[in-house]
Symmetry: C2
Subunit: 183 residues, 2 copies
Amino acid sequence: MTRRKMDFPVSEVRRYLEPGPVVLVSSYWKGRANIMTMGWHTVMEFTPSLVGCVISNANYSFELIRNSQECVINVPTMALLDQTVGIGNTSGADVDKFTKFGLTAETAEKVEAALIRECHANFECRLHDDALVEKYNFFIFEVVKAHVAATPKYPQTVHYTGEGVFMIAGKTVSRRAKFVRGL
Amino acid sequence: MTRRKMDFPVSEVRRYLEPGPVVLVSSYWKGRANIMTMGWHTVMEFTPSLVGCVISNANYSFELIRNSQECVINVPTMALLDQTVGIGNTSGADVDKFTKFGLTAETAEKVEAALIRECHANFECRLHDDALVEKYNFFIFEVVKAHVAATPKYPQTVHYTGEGVFMIAGKTVSRRAKFVRGL
């Protein structure tokens, strides 16, 4: 079950990332592709569309991303929870995760890393600043292209709390009338 | 309605921050106290307990935090949603936010900024690295003391999606049996 995706403004990816979901990061370098599960990320700017994230150098993905200077941040939903956990508990050094977890690699537009079709959103990223990579494994990416499923507007994302426990996104409430600025 | 708080291990604050809630950042410098609403943050390390966050220099809090090199990250729940929105839509240059929003300032143990009693958790922070403050308004703090309400274990946090809309934390599910490491 995969919904058709639409182009989405890169300056608005905060809608999906700011609530803090676990994401799947796909990477590619010299014939090697991988996926990792990642929960340590933050929006840093609207324009350019910047996202900072910690990718430990203990991960197989680190070398691929460090060298290719690219990745795709994919946003899974509750329907992919078991694959998300499995991806986080295996290493790309041992298995082809697309095959093992039954995920579909789609060609991205601006990077070589693949989009994961089954995810709700796919954000193509290029490395923007590696100033804190050596010290903290902290990469700052620019989202250069965004693809998002047309519905639902607020997907049931999964949010990691540690100890194997995930919080599932609940209902949404609007307080728009109380906002004085556009943020 | 405020629950009694317990000391909490600073290396485990990810339980509350990694799911990505909006937080209230309290600050203090030379007689001036303030609170801001903040949604752009990420855990960066367990030990030392590091949290990175974007605090725009357009905020009144920026100067207080830049100069004092401290803050408290407070985690509100659904019960404080309207105050959280109000705090994000007013400036400390104009109002005393503790008074205006009926919040109680409690003395912290290791920093001068106040704990907000009504929040579920309070994390006392000291500036750890300001390397990216000039360029991105990105502060890396070390959590030096953590206070958390004894119950509930998984509070109903609020997560911002933009456009005035918040996602409310839903139920939790465990996949602990599928985790091969302790993470």
